[in-house]
């Protein structure tokens, strides 16, 4: 029988119609009867002991419900990994904006006045704000040494590398904090009753993370905590762990008030108080032969985790593992550490450490090229990983990836060589300079090492009496296409029309824990479980003699009806089973770090305006190998969206800090690209398949974040002949860089029209 292929087609987005008609319900669209509104009283200082809290006279406090750390029934922490982050500050505050008190009232308009009427006296303590200050340990603000976590990755004989080197190339590269800037701010609604326990509805990525955190905070068993994800307006990692905090706040208030409570942040609060991408500093020291081969080296990768550990150890892990890029290192020593400062804790943001370390690697490749007199193209070509070689963690590249060919294709599409030649010519005169830049990289999909094993994700597929199929996962939709892709996979596996499959509501009461919606794991890892659970449904019906191979949709419907009538609820489960023969050593940080890598070469064309020092990206080519493109429109949308965020990361999105507090927490002053700022972003795919992913898919959500920053900064250096090694790179930085460069381009713009 002729089977329709659903996977690989751009089927309609499952929840698309609701989105374009304005019917989708986000958390702030929901109103519960008798609901209170709440706000948070936060620390105004970076570090200190709370001496006294006073409540101003001008507020009718008896109308308010007020919650402090003393009201916490369970443990005062946001249970995640290290459990060091309090839900509400007790005796000490360790960062500006740290939550101290919660206030709730039926009239949301009176909350601000109440928040301002709370005065807090502190005994201030010295605070630290940069990686260098943290390393210097003038103040120790966490543990005994300000260090959340370290990793050491060692491969081969680094000393031999130094001895045999013809060149030793050093470089230091840094990246700033970046705000996820989902257009929907964080928000939660909580309700409590003795019988059912706590229910929360909110904007979130990981229902079971919130579930675990609420159990610990509220001292409730698993069946007395229910978490429901509402339609979520963007997340990008910014709603991976923070929702547990805001859910905890709403829950504590709901318990004390005996009424539902809604907390919605406004933009100022969300930007200042919630997580951002970890700032980073990477130092490279590389032994290179005169033929341009990397012989070995040392990489020191450091990230600023803010005041509490939260996710820093995992961000560090991914950053460290990606630090060597898509290259063959005969030997390497990677020392990675995450350090504490008195800033609001940094967290997950698309890429999760890899954009930071890959920025450094790809800038450094251009530096190596320059030092030894090779082109940026050639230096990469000579060092690309080949099938059969091992990565920095000694993972064997088992798939037939040909990075040289990928590079060639990207060069051709972008017209790199002839443009570079033309620009070199044009740049002699005129009011602007143009350049081309390359970034080659990889991104591991799924949880690192033994992570997926620990998650032990479970997925269900249900056959309903009417023949409809439901997918039961805790994986959430927040724009990236979870609902659509997982429905496609189930439909494909069952040979049913796409329309016959729907997603069960992302409600912990209804769905099993298929793991968090992070790490580019949903299509690949969870999708594969969906595929096998769906196959289980078909198998069950067939082996029950209710269905034959090659069945039609109608026959399936009838078989389901019969099965349900006979046996009741009809569900098949699939649990993650780690592939055999795959090993990862958590101690030595060595082995198969990821089930699959996606590979990419990105090329940027830029113009630097010499009057204003602004950089515009004129063309951007994004070429990647992704296993299998499950949905062309969605896949392209993910790459373009990620590249746009990467362009923001490179050129626009600066967090202005003062004493640990973000000063530019408004959309007017935190600059993300508008539709007038982005070039057409040209996306191309290659597909090698992936035995560990559903229908051959690899994760792609985070991949596009890794390439734009180094490609763009490489292009800027190509244009100006002056290197810049820190992002975001603003026109002010370019002007200063040109002024202090040996070529003394200070008065670069005195004459010469356009």
């Amino acid at each position: 029988m002729n089977r329709e292929r659903i996977v690989g087609e751009s089927v309609p987005r499952k929840e698309g119609r609701d989105k374009v008609t304005g019917r989708s319900k986000y958390v702030d669209d929901m109103v519960l009867p008798n609901m209170l509104f709440a706000a948070t009283v936060r620390s105004q200082i970076p570090h200190g002991r709370i001496r006294k809290i006073s409540f101003g006279a001008d507020v009718a406090w008896d109308e308010f419900v007020v919650v402090s750390a003393k009201d916490i029934p369970g443990r005062n922490c946001i249970a995640l990994i290290g459990d060091d982050q309090p839900c509400l500050a007790g005796e000490f505050v360790n960062h500006p904006e740290e939550p101290i008190l919660l206030v709730a009232h039926p009239d949301r308009h009176v909350l601000q006045k109440a928040v301002h009427a709370v005065s807090i006296e502190y005994d201030r303590l010295p605070a630290i704000f940069t990686i260098e200050e943290s390393e210097g340990r003038s103040e120790v603000v966490w543990g005994g040494d300000n260090i959340f976590k370290t990793y050491l990755i060692e491969k081969g004989n680094v000393e031999a590398g130094w001895q045999n080197a013809d060149y030793i190339v050093e470089g230091e590269y840094s990246t700033g904090a970046q705000e996820q800037l989902y257009i929907e701010n964080n928000g939660m609604i909580a309700s409590f009753d003795e019988a059912q326990g706590i229910t929360v509805w909110g904007s979130l990525q990981c229902p079971y993370y919130v579930h675990k955190a609420l159990m610990a905070l509220c001292n409730l068993p698993a069946d007395k905590v229910r978490v429901v994800q509402m339609e979520t307006g963007g997340a990008f990692g910014g709603k991976e762990d923070y929702p547990s905090m805001i859910a905890g706040h709403a829950a504590l208030l709901a318990i004390k008030a005996g009424r539902p409570v809604k907390i919605i942040y406004d933009r100022l609060e969300d930007m200042a108080a919630t997580t951002k991408r970890h700032p980073s500093r990477t130092r490279h020291r590389t032994a290179v032969s005169r033929e341009g081969k990397i012989l070995g080296g040392e990489i020191e990768f450091t990230i600023d985790g803010g005041a509490y550990a939260t996710l820093s150890s995992v961000v560090l892990s991914r950053g460290a593992i990606h630090a060597g890029g898509p290259y063959y290192w005969p030997s390497v020593r990677i020392r990675a550490k995450a350090v504490a400062t008195n800033a609001p804790p940094h967290g997950a943001f698309r890429g999760f450490g890899a954009p930071q370390s890959l920025f450094a690697m790809e800038r450094h490749m251009d530096r190596i090229a320059q030092t030894i007199g090779l082109s940026p193209v050639e230096i990469r070509r000579r060092n690309f990983l080949q099938p059969g070689q091992t990565t920095t963690t000694e993972q064997v590249v088992r798939e037939p990836i040909d990075l040289g060919k990928l590079l060639d294709r990207a060069l051709e599409i972008s017209d790199y060589e002839s443009k570079k030649r033309a620009f070199a010519n044009q740049n002699q005169t005129g009011g602007s300079k143009k350049g081309m830049g390359i970034a080659a990289f990889l991104h591991g999909a799924g949880f690192t090492g033994s992570g997926e094993r620990y998650l032990s994700s479970v997925v269900g597929v249900e056959g309903c009496a009417d023949g409809a199929v439901r997918v039961l996962v805790s994986s959430t939709e927040f724009g990236q296409g979870t609902n659509t892709v997982l429905s496609q996979i189930a439909a494909e596996a069952l040979h049913l029309p796409y329309e016959n499959v729907s997603m069960a509501p992302p409600d912990t009461l209804e769905v099993p824990n298929s793991g968090p919606t992070v790490a580019s794991r949903t299509a690949m890892v969870v999708g594969k479980l969906v595929q096998s659970a769906a196959l289980g449904i078909a198998q069950t019906l067939i082996s029950s003699n209710l269905l034959d191979d090659g069945y039609s949709a109608d026959e399936f419907r009838e078989a389901c009806r019969q099965y349900v009538a006979m046996h009741g609820q009809f569900r098949c489960w699939s649990r993650y089973d780690p592939p055999s023969g795959i090993f990862w050593d958590d101690e030595k940080y060595r082995g198969e770090a990821y089930a699959a890598f996606a590979w990419a070469v990105y090329i940027a064309e830029v113009t630097v305006d010499l009057a204003t020092y602004s950089v515009s990206v004129d063309d951007f080519v994004a070429l990647q190998e992704v296993g299998k493109v499950l949905h062309p429109v969605l896949a392209r949308g993910q790459i373009i969206g990620g590249v746009a965020q990467g362009i923001g990361f490179s050129l626009y999105e600066k967090v202005v800090w003062q004493n640990g507090r973000m000063q530019n927490g408004q959309m007017t002053n935190y600059i993300m690209p508008t539709s007038s700022d982005l070039p057409p972003i040209r996306v191309f795919f290659e597909e090698l398949g992936n035995v560990y992913g559903a229908y051959g898919a690899k994760g792609i959500g985070e991949l596009p974040m890794d390439g734009p920053a180094p490609a763009i900064l490489n292009a800027v250096e190509d244009a100006l002949g002056v290197p810049f090694n820190s992002i975001p790179l603003l026109p002010e930085d370019i002007m200063d860089g040109l002024a202090t460069s040996p070529e003394n381009n200070a008065s670069i713009f005195t004459s010469g029209g356009r």
């Binding site: 949301r108 308009h109 009176v110 601000q112 006045k113 406004d266 100022l268 009011g431 010499l610 009057a611 204003t612 020092y613 602004s614 626009y652 202005v656 000063q663 530019n664 408004q666 007017t668 002053n669 600059i671 690209p673 508008t674 539709s675 007038s676 700022d677 026109p731 002010e732 002007m735 200063d736 713009f749 005195t750 004459s751 010469g752 029209g753 356009r754």
Partner: protein, 297 residues
């Protein structure tokens, strides 16, 4: 939303006469609100102390554009959309049409008013340098009648103006004599749209016999007020535009302005770029083909 709506009274009397009468009767009591693109932002951020507000939005007396043979009269209540889409503005006052075009996005252009831009008096306001270059005149109105002011004298300090507490701006008057001028404007912001300017330039010039016959240059965001660069104009006027003049012009500009460091940019950057923008303007002025007589009837 950090303010309580019940703390703010607002009335909309609907006629200019009623409004100025009330402003005179209760001076300082009523804050005029036009399109709200500035005040409502402060309000939502909790930065507008509880006030009585009087709406001057969409008043027919203020939201009109009148074309006379020598003067274009733009009512202060005109939105940026009203301004940029008017054919005489587009044709004869491209600096102003252009500035309206790059103010915010379409939604803010449909509400922000030129009068609001002037009274709000931000040195970064987009349309103010254009008004300086065109030597606009303002008509202010109160119960005491109308008075006329050259716009260049209106701003006396950072966010301070000559507007009396009982006055409103009624009209912005532009002399219709710039058709034969070369015009050039550029805004430097953090991005291409929806950006508060770091520096912006509005320039008008005319070459004759190889020298600069007339020139007006105004900059925004480089001083507490929008600035007409009179000293720079002086060194340029009557001169040939060559490399030496451009170097001198840049140097004079950089000495004439008083930029600051703020959350958006640095004094050093503003200074350097301001100089570059003036040079760029002079270059373009000089590269124009020799003018032909134009007849605007």
């Amino acid at each position: 939303m950090r303010s309580n709506p019940s703390d703010y009274e607002m009335i909309a009397p609907g006629s200019l006469h009623a409004i100025v009468s009330l402003l005179a009767k209760e001076p300082g009591e009523w804050l005029p609100l036009a399109g709200g693109t500035d005040l409502m932002v402060q309000y939502a951020a909790g930065k507008l102390p509880p006030r009585k507000l009087i709406s001057i939005w969409n008043l027919p007396e203020l939201r009109r554009i009148e074309v006379t043979p020598n003067v274009l009269q733009i009512g202060a209540g005109c939105t940026y959309t009203d301004v940029r889409s008017h054919e005489v503005v587009a044709r004869e006052f491209p600096l102003l049409a252009g500035a309206a075009r790059w103010t915010g996005g379409i939604a803010n252009q449909n509400r922000g008013t030129i009068g609001g831009n002037i009274v709000n008096a931000s040195p970064a306001a987009d349309s103010l340098p254009a008004l300086l270059a065109y030597e606009a005149e303002l008509v202010l109105v109160s119960v005491r009648g109308e008075r006329k002011l050259p716009y260049v004298s209106f701003h006396t300090g950072y966010k301070q103006t000559l507007l009396a507490p009982d006055e409103l701006i009624q009209t912005v008057c532009l002399q219709r004599r710039y058709s034969r001028y070369f015009s050039h404007a550029r805004k430097v912001g953090a991005r291409n749209a929806q950006a508060i300017s770091k520096v912006c330039i509005a320039g008008l010039g005319r070459m004759a016999n190889g020298v600069v016959e007339d020139i007006r240059v105004a900059l925004g965001s480089v001083a507490p007020v929008p600035l007409r660069l009179t000293k720079t104009e002086q060194v340029v006027k009557g001169q040939t535009v060559d490399a030496a003049l451009m170097t001198l012009a840049k140097k004079t500009t950089m000495a004439e302005i008083r930029p600051i460091d703020d959350i958006r940019s640095t004094a050093r950057y503003r200074s350097e770029v301001a100089g570059n923008l003036v040079v760029e303007f002079l270059n373009r002025l000089n590269s124009q083909p020799a003018e032909r007589a134009l007849d605007y009837g």
